[in-house]
Point group: C7
Chain length 71, copies 7
Amino acid sequence: MIMPMKMLEENLNKKVALLLKDNRTLLGVLSGFDEYMNMVLDNVEENSETLNRKLGTVIIRGSNVVRIVPV
Amino acid sequence: MIMPMKMLEENLNKKVALLLKDNRTLLGVLSGFDEYMNMVLDNVEENSETLNRKLGTVIIRGSNVVRIVPV
Amino acid sequence: MIMPMKMLEENLNKKVALLLKDNRTLLGVLSGFDEYMNMVLDNVEENSETLNRKLGTVIIRGSNVVRIVPV
Amino acid sequence: MIMPMKMLEENLNKKVALLLKDNRTLLGVLSGFDEYMNMVLDNVEENSETLNRKLGTVIIRGSNVVRIVPV
Amino acid sequence: MIMPMKMLEENLNKKVALLLKDNRTLLGVLSGFDEYMNMVLDNVEENSETLNRKLGTVIIRGSNVVRIVPV
Amino acid sequence: MIMPMKMLEENLNKKVALLLKDNRTLLGVLSGFDEYMNMVLDNVEENSETLNRKLGTVIIRGSNVVRIVPV
Amino acid sequence: MIMPMKMLEENLNKKVALLLKDNRTLLGVLSGFDEYMNMVLDNVEENSETLNRKLGTVIIRGSNVVRIVPV
């Protein structure tokens, strides 16, 4: 058994793909998170059906998170 | 009477189909979960009406979960 | 006065129809539940406008539940 | 001043019309409720724009309730 | 400074227009409320784009309330 | 650093534009608020794409608030 | 590891782009925030698909926040 928060911890400083409820995906390095799944990503590239752009650092409110995939 | 969390525990390291609110299904091995139904799935295959792809490990925020089916 | 949780308890191991927010209905035997209305159903048959299939055991996150009808 | 929960209590074993968020109306006898407005209705008749059927006993999760009207 | 709950209290037994999230308006006398903004209205008239009818007493779950206007 | 609640306090008895989730804007004098961002506005004028009307005093449930702009 | 709230603190008095759930973007100086991600922005410029305007100071309810990008 691995706890979800422990799994996030193991991905610190690694590249992840973060899917948000608005269907955007943020690709970036996981720099931090808290118990609400608020997150900090670095070197972020944002992808959606209509755009593709670099965002640098992004702070995400946990309530918008669907899933995190280590990549 | 079997508690839902106990039922999840019995499915640890087994294959499950996880239906999310956005109507996607994730097929994978249940590696972990917590009391919010945040989950870790391994060897994940994602299926929706429009796509079908392998994702490896996925951390899911519990608020997006509709139901889990052992398969 | 009968408390809703007591009513669920009286339907343990009995057949119920569970309506979810996504408008699907799950028909199955109520095997367990907790105070969030997370539930375990066995021998589940799923019905929606577009499909009809057998699912076996299903764990449902309570936040998706609209109502339960003993059948 | 009458508290909403006290008003529910006064309608125990009386007929009410319960409007849900999905716009269905359940007509039935209020048999029980708790502090989340989870409810038990008996002798329920369900009405929506497209259907009209008898359901018997129904347990409703409070988060779906819009309003209750004694009838 | 007047607290919102205090303002509700000042409107007890007075006529108010209650706007709900489903865009219906209930016109009635405010008979009671609690800290979740659950409410009891008496002598209610319901207005929406498509209908206009008298409902008598109505118990409203606070989570559906948008705003209250003394009228 | 100014706390959001402190900023609201500084706007007491001043005119603000309150944007709600249903996309309506209420223009009025901020008379009160609490920690949930429930609010009391006075001398309210409501603006949406389709209407423009005076409402007098309005009590708003905080869960509907998007943002407040001092005007 | 950097906590999301700590990252917000590091951006105090700096320019950020705040994406809201209704898909609007607010560009402004982050003047304050609290643990719910309620925020105060100064010198705000609002951008959406259909408009572009200056708003001055804005208080945002945290539940509407998707993400914050230092710019």
